[in-house]
């Protein structure tokens, strides 16, 4: 169930001029968001609340904090390089590690009913332990540096990928496996040409969940005992009572999460074209 900002279908709505394909997508997509911002702006200006600054002030602050750098640095300020870039980098590193480990182990485990039966309870248990509770452990084991953060992110993000890979691999269509056996495929071909492509939709679903987990853990790992990072920025702002700065951080996180989702959706749509098309056709028949 992937969602996108720009939904192309306009099934039953009546044809009006503002319902023309491209225009309506933009209108429908951005419209509500702009309306919401407008309402917030009006309310904030009217109320002058200390805790909820108007969106304009927040966006200006985002710009001031991170986007007023020199052109050759992509307009990014030092603060951006100190906080934002490393944060995102750690998150991506952790997520990629989780992806690699998750798919590798998931495939091995999923292929064997015995192994998956043996390991599933253990996996479900470790997954259920709240990752924040393990921060003290990680702190002790690995210190407060990048290794600890990346490991924490990877550790927390691997579960949805692992479990979804196991599920996708285990539920391989028997006819496809039969086909691979009849035609005498070597094992590598069976795995890379049959099993993994078949499991790809499920793996992608797991990877998508893992992106939001990775963002969460990125922030969590920076709220505690940290010297830099977006989470640290937010906590810093909180302690100095700089509301706009804090909101700037939140907005930045929203933007990052949203952009990641967008990129992932686009990638997923491209890679799983066959899956969506086949499913769409089945539904329409």
């Amino acid at each position: 169930m992937s969602t996108s900002l720009f939904k192309p279908s306009l099934s039953n709505l009546p044809r009006r001029w503002w319902m023309a394909p491209g225009a309506s997508d933009l209108f429908v997509g951005l419209g509500p968001v702009l309306a919401l911002l407008f309402v917030w702006e009006a309310a904030a200006q009217a109320e002058h609340s200390l805790f909820f600054p108007p969106p304009t002030a927040v966006f200006v602050r985002v710009y001031q904090l991170w986007l007023t750098g020199p052109a050759d640095h992509l307009f990014l300020t030092d603060a951006a390089f100190r906080d934002v870039i490393p944060s995102i980098g750690r998150m991506l590193a952790g997520w990629c590690a989780a992806l690699g480990i998750g798919i590798l182990c998931g495939t091995v485990i999923g292929r064997s009913r015995v192994i998956s039966d043996l390991l599933t309870p253990g996996i479900e248990f470790v997954r259920a332990v709240p990752s924040p509770a393990l921060i003290p452990v990680f702190l002790i084991l690995l210190g407060t540096e990048t290794t600890m953060r990346v490991t924490l992110i990877a550790f927390g993000s691997v579960w949805p990928i692992l479990l979804n890979t196991i599920d996708g691999v285990a539920r391989i269509e028997p006819r496809l496996l039969d086909t691979a056996r009849i035609f005498d495929f070597p094992r590598s071909a069976t795995i890379f040409r049959v099993v993994l492509p078949f499991a790809a939709p499920k793996i992608c679903a797991g990877a998508r969940i893992a992106t939001s987990t990775a963002v969460i853990l990125m922030v969590v790992s920076e709220l505690v005992a940290s010297a830099d990072g977006i989470g640290h920025h937010i906590v810093d702002a909180q302690q100095l009572f700089l509301m706009t700065d804090m909101w700037a951080g939140i907005v930045l996180l929203a933007g990052i999460g949203f952009t990641l989702n967008l990129i992932f959706s686009a990638f997923e749509r491209r890679m799983l074209r066959w899956h969506f098309a086949a499913r769409g056709r089945a539904e329409r028949q």
Binding site: L13, D117, F125, A128, V129
Partner: protein, 260 residues
């Protein structure tokens, strides 16, 4: 009576758990990290046993569970009607989607500092954050569940003369129920993790997270920290398995893949 295949599976589950415990014991005894920081698995298990009988820990445990249950109820109360409203109207759906897409990625953890400033360090902050976190999965799944009902089923109902409200009641809602339940299950498990995380990061009030924080700060209480984390794990597992069992019984008819 489970078939022999089922007994095989159960047998392997049990064997796997025992194996895992044995492995954990061996690894921790290797003392790659000194035992005061990473105690032996057996010590942790013993501590779990003691904690479950310890008055003060149980108070923390129950505190967490009360907040969890309350937040779950509130978020369900908010999300379900909202999901039905937004999912059943095409226009409302189109308007809501972009807004949800934008706000949903904001992790509740980054709202912790904000919530603490606005409402202080108290129960309300905790409840607000957890409810916020729980609302999204239920809302998201609910909206899509209601919106993506098989059009053929709806058309069949219309052929029988059912009006809009009746279609909603007899077709859309039952059809969406399994999806909503999946959202509910995700909210329940994720909500517990968020709750303990919030407790841990702010030491707010009582709770398992607060207990862990308190014990890791005072030092030398690694066993209690791990034991509490293990108990939290069991709790999450029990909730997930319990809800999955309910799902299977209640929605036997819906065996479609439901992505979380």
């Amino acid at each position: 009576m489970p078939t022999s295949a089922r007994w095989d599976t159960i047998g392997r589950y049990v064997l796997g758990l025992i194996g895992l415990l044995a492995l954990a014991e061996c690894v921790t005894r290797l003392e790659l990290v000194p035992a005061i920081y990473l105690p032996h698995a057996s010590t942790i298990m013993v501590r779990v046993w003691f904690l479950l009988q310890d008055r003060s820990f149980l108070e923390n445990l129950l505190a967490t569970l009360y907040v969890w249950a309350f937040a779950l109820a509130v978020s369900t109360f908010i999300s379900v009607p909202l999901a039905i409203a937004l999912g059943s109207s095409d226009i409302a759906f189109r308007i809501a989607c972009p807004i949800i897409d934008l706000i949903r990625p904001i992790p509740s953890v980054c709202l912790i500092p904000l919530a603490v400033i606005v409402w202080g360090q108290g129960l309300f902050t905790k409840i607000f954050l957890v409810t916020y976190a729980m609302t999204w999965p239920i809302l998201y799944n609910g909206i899509y569940g209601v919106h993506d009902v098989d059009p053929v089923t709806i058309q069949s109902a219309r052929c029988f003369g059912l009006r809009r409200a009746a279609v909603l009641r007899h077709v859309s809602l039952p059809s969406a129920a399994p999806f909503m339940f999946t959202g509910f299950r995700v909210a329940a498990t994720v909500g517990l993790i968020v709750l303990i995380g919030v407790e841990l990061l702010t030491g707010l009030d009582k709770g398992i997270g607060a207990f862990i924080l308190h014990n890791s700060v005072t030092g030398g209480q690694a066993e209690s920290v791990f034991a509490a984390a293990a108990i939290a794990g069991f709790l999450g597992l029990a909730i997930n398995l319990g809800l999955e069992a309910v799902d299977r019984r209640a929605f036997l008819w819906s065996r479609v893949d439901r992505y979380e």
